[in-house]
């Protein structure tokens, strides 16, 4: 009876332990929040200046004799980045249109087409390139660094970058006609 009436000295978790727990929890929440934010962001948005990246090129698909491309070296030209893969059936729908557009713009010297091969195997990629008679520069997205930067949602996706290195348009999914490609490139050449 007397026991319950005696006030007990208050003892809690040490302050350092509380700090550690809170720091850990806040850190965990921050990581989850960043992940969710990234997942909801979608692809890189038009208006953004695209950072430099390096794309190694398959032999036989070099650009001006160079076996790798640095995006910053292409400033002053319109750049069309096309993410594709040999296992991607929708990519086949636009392959002929992209190649046709390249043959039209190549003589102007103002447009560069770059094919970025996403999560693919080189032998199959070469079969695909040969099958569709593709001649513009193409190379593998090593360690998926470029696709992660652009936050692509799948293939095919095509990014139109103007002469100042600013992203102007994103095409998610295949082009259904060459006019769609003209409609994006022509205004950037003016």
């Amino acid at each position: 009876m007397t026991e319950s009436s005696i006030p007990a000295p208050r003892r809690g978790v040490p302050i350092w332990a509380q700090i550690v727990v809170w720091v850990f929890l806040v850190g965990l929440l921050a990581i989850v929040a960043l992940g969710l934010r990234r997942a909801q962001q979608g692809t890189v948005q038009p208006g953004q200046v695209i950072d430099n990246f390096t794309l190694p090129l398959y032999s036989g698909y070099e650009l001006d004799g160079k076996s790798e491309i640095h995006l910053e070296d292409l400033r002053g030209k319109v750049v069309v980045l096309n993410f594709w893969a040999s296992w991607c059936k929708p990519c086949e729908q636009e392959a002929a249109e992209l190649q046709q557009a390249w043959t039209e713009y190549e003589p102007t010297g103002q447009v560069v087409f770059l094919g970025i091969d996403y999560v693919d195997t080189e032998p199959e990629a070469r079969v695909y390139l040969k099958k569709f008679g593709i001649t513009y520069a193409n190379g593998p997205d090593l360690a998926t660094r470029i696709s992660q930067y652009f936050r692509i949602k799948g293939v095919p996706e095509t990014y139109f970058i103007d002469k100042d290195g600013v992203l102007q348009y994103v095409q998610v999914g295949p082009f259904t006609s060459i006019d769609q490609i003209h409609a994006q490139i022509d205004p950037l050449l003016k």
Binding site: T2, E3, S5, I6, A8, P9, R11, G12, V13, P14, A17, V20, V21, F24, A85, S86, W87, V119, D120, T121, P123, E124, P140, L142, A143, T144, R145
Partner: protein, 165 residues
């Protein structure tokens, strides 16, 4: 006479044909040995199950039904035929597609150290927490030492209770 000559020519022809067949068979056999035997599905899958294709997350490569994964398995088969080791094949895939394709993370100290430290820290804090909850705030001996009369309120309370009895 002519018949005999004809038979001799036929015999030479047969001999040449047999020699040519042997040469052809031997040459072909040599090419097969040079390339190495075709790996079995089990040999391919032994490596494939240690890899995950980024396109089909959460599905090991050995059971993934997509076209992309079929191509990856074919590539593993080709590399095995070329005599590449398991480590070399995995290294190639990491170089091409990044470390996230590995079922087990790369053997780095921090990969194993951070979870271990977090678990130990959590266990220690749980232990401390339980220890504090279980420990009585004051022992019976301590309680017995307290003289009720020392507290005027308790003394009065007990006095009132005695009166009621």
């Amino acid at each position: 006479m002519y018949k005999l000559k004809f038979l001799q020519i036929t015999n030479y022809g047969l001999l040449l044909a047999v020699l040519a067949a042997f040469t052809f068979a031997f040459t072909n056999q040599t090419i097969v040995f040079a390339q190495g035997p075709t790996p079995t599905d089990d040999e391919v899958n032994r490596i494939a199950k240690q890899l995950y294709c980024p396109v089909c997350e959460s599905t090991p490569l050995d059971v993934c039904p997509t076209e992309a994964c079929r191509q990856w398995r074919d590539l593993i088969r080709t590399m095995l035929t070329e005599g590449k080791s398991e480590a070399e094949i995995k290294q190639y895939f990491v170089a091409q597609y990044g470390a996230r394709v590995l079922a087990e993370p790369p053997n780095r100290l921090v990969t194993y150290l951070v979870p271990a430290v977090a678990i130990l820290l959590g266990a220690f804090m749980l232990f401390r927490g339980f220890q504090m909850w279980m420990k009585p705030s004051i022992t019976e001996t301590d309680a017995a030492d307290v003289k009720p009369a020392q507290d005027p309120y308790i003394a009065r309370l007990e006095e009132e209770l005695k009166k009621q009895k």
